[in-house]
């Protein structure tokens, strides 16, 4: 069975390490916060100016002056700090944030990512994504393996305008967990019940399958 969005987030959460500062993008990445392993401390950075982002407020306690980068009302935690956008991106560009998780429309086998524009159709803007992918040492992309028509989104070359080049190292899709190196996707884990053949069929970019590929564990 292909993973649900929640399960993609859950698998990504396993990659978090103790004492990491983490930036979660909008969409599936936001869900990662719900699955943090119990034994580690991580701090979420929201690029609109918050470190130590807490859960959504209790109903009735929403504060218009306290939102995350997705414009959702959030809360602070003990030890949180608030700051301006220049300081926020100083943290990001200066590589003080250890991990960035974000969504993508396309990823290529050399680690390029496209997620901000479909020429002539949709231009929402890159927001902070270009700063994040150009700076982060660890980038995990959370995405669907194929589009609605079944076409692969893991490509030899991205067809859409790029967000960043040679930057993505790990991808977690509804079908698999893959690493990007040597100009190829390396299949590391399969979604439970998904066959290697299905993943090969869904991947346009060069896919390396070495030995037995285990199923993800949750």
């Amino acid at each position: 069975m292909a993973l649900s969005k929640q399960e993609i987030a859950q698998r990504i959460a396993q990659e978090l390490q103790d004492k990491w500062y983490v930036n979660l993008g909008i969409g599936i990445p936001t869900l990662v916060a719900n699955y943090i392993p119990k034994n580690i401390d991580v701090v979420f950075q929201s690029e609109n100016g918050m470190l130590g982002m807490g859960p959504f407020p209790i109903e009735g306690e929403e504060d218009a002056d306290l939102i995350n980068a997705g414009k959702q009302t959030v809360t602070i935690l003990k030890g949180s700090s608030l700051f301006d956008s220049a300081m926020s991106f100083a943290m990001i560009r200066g590589q003080h944030v250890q991990l960035t998780v974000l969504g993508a429309m396309e990823v290529s086998q050399n680690g390029d990512i496209a997620n901000w524009k479909i020429p002539g159709k949709m231009v929402k803007g890159m927001g902070g994504a270009m700063d994040l992918v150009a700076s982060a040492e660890n980038i995990i992309v959370a995405m669907m393996h194929t589009d609605k028509a079944g076409a692969s989104k893991l490509l030899k070359n991205c067809s859409l305008p790029l967000t960043g080049v040679n930057c993505v190292k790990k991808v977690v899709t509804n079908l698999a967990y893959l690493e990007i190196r040597n100009n190829a996707f390396y299949l590391i884990e399969r979604a439970p019940g998904v066959s290697v053949e299905e993943i090969i069929a869904a991947t346009e970019g060069t896919l390396i399958v070495e030995g037995e590929i285990p199923e993800m564990k949750f």
């Binding site: 929403e62 939102i67 414009k71 959702q72 301006d84 220049a86 967000t163 960043g164 080049v165």
Partner: protein, 233 residues
């Protein structure tokens, strides 16, 4: 201490003209200068270039200026919450320059800080870097980005004093402090205007030197875009 107080938005926007370039603080609808935007709508100035991280929503924030076609060009990082914006952009009525959010923030700061240009890794290898100088430092590629040159900056603070000192609240701070630094004329509207001396000098986010005009704002709506809550248990 130099007194920066003006009576209201009308007096604060004295000198605003068609064709000018403005910076406007805020992230989404959080921390936007509501009073100044309302006055810009009332004045009906047009052909504006607006530097602002977002473009408001259809019926609030900069969306109000877009609806009245007062904006010629938007310089933003994310504009995904506004259908009228998307329509004007795709039809070519509106000129749009999208730039990475961190680059936008740093360019605002650079403008106010007398830094004409700096190098950033953001956007290297993408269409954002097209036509720009790129350069390698320590084995990594960077793009040269420049300061802006806005006539006015409009910012919104939580508290301000008569000397122009500002304190922001929560994530409503966002772009406001850097834009305050960058305006040739910086107008600050505040939820609470107090006498000089009432704010702790150690806790001021924007020193008064950057603010030319300050006024007590009114009727703040402070609209929430995404009301996400945890149900009471």
């Amino acid at each position: 201490m130099i007194n920066k107080v003006v009576k209201n938005a009308q007096e604060a926007l004295n000198g605003v003209e068609n064709g000018m370039t403005f910076m406007l603080g805020g992230f989404g609808l959080c921390g936007i200068p509501e009073n100044c935007i309302a006055e810009l709508v009332r004045l009906g100035v047009s052909n504006l270039t607006c530097i602002s991280n977002n473009a408001g929503v259809d019926d609030f924030g900069l969306g109000l200026l877009l609806k009245k076609r007062q904006i010629k060009k938007m310089v933003s990082s994310y504009v995904g919450e506004n259908e009228e914006f998307e329509r004007q952009m795709l039809s070519g009525e509106l000129d749009v320059e999208l730039i990475p959010q961190g680059t936008l923030a740093e360019r605002c700061r650079a403008t106010g800080a007398g830094i004409p240009a700096f190098y950033t890794p953001a956007g290297y290898g993408t269409e954002v870097a097209e036509g720009k100088e790129t350069r390698e430092f320590n084995g990594k590629m960077y793009v040269l980005e420049h300061a802006f040159n806005p006539e006015f900056a409009f910012v919104k603070a939580w508290k301000g004093d008569t000397a122009g000192n500002l304190i922001f609240k929560g994530t409503a701070r966002n772009f406001n402090p850097m834009m305050a630094m960058a305006g040739k004329i910086t107008v600050a509207e505040v939820e609470e205007l107090v006498e000089a001396g009432e704010l702790d000098p150690n806790q001021i986010h924007t020193p008064g030197i950057f603010v030319q005009r300050i006024f007590q704002g009114k009727d703040y709506e402070k609209r929430i875009e995404q009301r996400t809550v945890t149900p009471k248990s």
